[in-house]
């Protein structure tokens, strides 16, 4: 059975339910929707590692003991946590992007896609940093003393004792943040990055099939968030250490 036939059967199956999925039979609209699915996936795949890396950096800065750095980062954390992501995206894309374009006279190397990745990754990095900091603080002092008594250097204690334990402690919160991150990529449609939400808006403004498309989008996000939480559960089970944590 070819793809076309399968799609036709699906359209015929959905029609009695009052759902009109005829757009998938139009090659151009199908391609646009599939591209939207791919762009959303790309946004997630780019923003997840970026947010984790930035989260580690912010957590390191917050716990570094350098007062000015910790204060600056704390202010950044507060502003990021207490303002809407959409407004942050506007401040980045409509203001910073405009200023960069002015300065470079057109040749702006940062695409709208990259702005979404930067803003979403930074936003979630702040939440990761809080989780990691709580994890670092939750490592029992006795464990660190045990490390020192085994003649581990400071760096060795950090990398081999403190961070592995902190990561395990923070993991559930990190996975939660990543699920949020996946959902947050939907704001890309606000600045016309062609993610699944944006492509769907383009399709439903041509046809009257909002409900059908929204159900597909919701299913897609359920799939993505389920994948992230399944990966998180797998990692938690794999990293579980007898006698530490739950």
């Amino acid at each position: 059975m070819s793809l076309q036939q399968a799609l036709e059967q699906w359209v015929a199956l959905a029609r009695p339910l009052g759902l009109n999925y005829a757009f998938v039979l139009d090659p151009a609209e199908r391609a646009a929707f599939a591209h939207g699915l791919w762009v959303t996936l790309q946004l997630c795949l780019a923003a997840i590692p970026a947010s984790l890396a930035l989260g580690v950096l912010i957590a390191a800065g917050l716990t570094s003991g350098r007062r000015w750095l910790a204060r600056l980062l704390a202010a950044f954390v507060e502003v990021t946590r207490n303002t809407p992501t959409l407004v942050q995206l506007y401040c980045a894309f409509l203001v910073l992007n405009m200023l960069i374009s002015r300065k470079l006279e057109g040749g702006n190397p940062v695409s709208p896609f990259m702005w979404v990745v930067i803003v979403v990754a930074l936003h979630k990095a702040v939440f990761h940093a809080e989780a990691l900091r709580a994890g670092i603080e939750a490592v029992p002092a006795a464990t660190l003393e045990a490390g020192r008594s085994l003649a581990f250097s400071r760096v060795q204690t950090l990398w081999r004792v403190q961070l592995p334990l902190a990561f395990r402690f923070a993991l559930p919160a990190l996975v939660n943040n990543l699920v949020d991150l996946v959902k947050m990529t939907a704001i890309a449609s606000a600045i016309a990055v062609g993610d699944v939400t944006y492509e769907s808006i383009m399709i439903w403004s041509q046809r009257d099939n909002v409900l059908e498309l929204l159900l597909l989008i919701l299913l897609y996000f359920f799939l993505l968030t389920w994948l992230v939480s399944a990966a998180g559960r797998w990692l938690e089970a794999r990293l579980r250490m007898p006698g530490y944590g739950q």
């Binding site: 207490n82 959409l86 506007y90 405009m98 959902k183 704001i187 919701l218």
Partner: protein, 274 residues
């Protein structure tokens, strides 16, 4: 004994204005706000305000009206979401299996959906007007956004409620039963009062998060704060004004949400001791 009381009474009398002033001076955010107010006063006194600031002053009432819309949406969405959420939360604790499964499904569905998609959903799927019998009323976009935000809010309230009830140790139920209370009585007199206290901080967190999500209303054509700022930026069309207005937007949301976050943290610390 008497001197103890005197010692304890003195700081209590000094509380209020003095403490507030001290808190304001030691808080960098309050200092920044005071600094901005001083700058605005200086500009208006000397008449030397730059053009961008003058324009911002011109648009200020519009921005406040926009913020009013955001606050209205957030309050209504939270009220609706809380009512619905408590109902769903109660269902998720029901002894009947199918009820629990249904509540679980509701919570999972609305917690895992992007809020923006839910807002699109309620905006475009709901009709333009509601007709009941011969009477019809327009179904305005901002009320649809209220519903779009109330759905995820209710799923979160349900989880907060369930978590709070389940965090009460089972021994309290047993103690209540052994004292001859019925289940309903234990619920009302023992469990719920403790739950309300435990729910307050996460509920306020949720309110702040829903308030921030009201910015999404601008994407479906509601004239809120973000929409007003975009219109202002396009109307004035000056680079310095665009920079100023978008950062003002950020500051206005921050000024509304940050105090809520501070209060939440304060409450969390206070209840952590009990």
């Amino acid at each position: 004994m008497a001197s103890d009381i005197v010692l304890a009474a003195r700081p209590a009398a000094r509380r209020g204005l003095g403490r507030l002033a001290r808190a304001l001076i030691s808080d960098p955010w309050a200092l920044a706000a005071l600094g901005l107010a001083a700058l605005a006063l200086y500009w208006s006194a000397t008449g030397s305000a730059p053009e961008a600031a003058r324009q911002l002053w011109h648009w200020w009432p519009g921005l406040l009206r926009g913020l009013g819309m955001n606050v209205r949406i957030s309050l209504l969405a939270m009220a609706l979401g809380t009512g619905l959420g408590l109902l769903v939360g109660a269902l998720s604790l029901s002894p009947a299996g199918p009820m629990r499964a249904l509540a679980r499904l509701y919570v999972q569905a609305f917690r895992n959906a992007p809020i923006l998609v839910l807002v699109y959903f309620t905006t475009y799927v709901f009709p333009f007007e509601i007709a009941i019998g011969g009477w019809s009323a327009p179904f305005e976009d901002w009320t649809k956004v209220v519903i779009g935000l109330a759905l995820p809010a209710s799923a979160n309230v349900a989880e907060i409620f369930r978590g709070a009830v389940q965090s009460i140790p089972g021994a309290q139920w047993e103690a209540g039963l052994s004292l001859g209370y019925t289940r309903a009585q234990i619920y009302r007199a023992v469990v719920l009062p403790q739950c309300l206290r435990r729910m307050l901080a996460p509920w306020m967190n949720l309110y702040a998060s829903i308030t921030m999500s009201t910015s999404l209303a601008s994407l479906v054509g509601v004239h809120d704060l973000v929409d007003t700022a975009t219109v202002a930026s396009n109307t004035v069309a000056r680079t310095d004004f665009t920079v100023l207005i978008y950062f003002t937007l950020l500051a206005m949301f921050f000024a509304y949400c940050y105090p809520i976050a501070r209060l939440t943290r304060h409450l969390e610390r206070r209840y952590a001791r009990h």
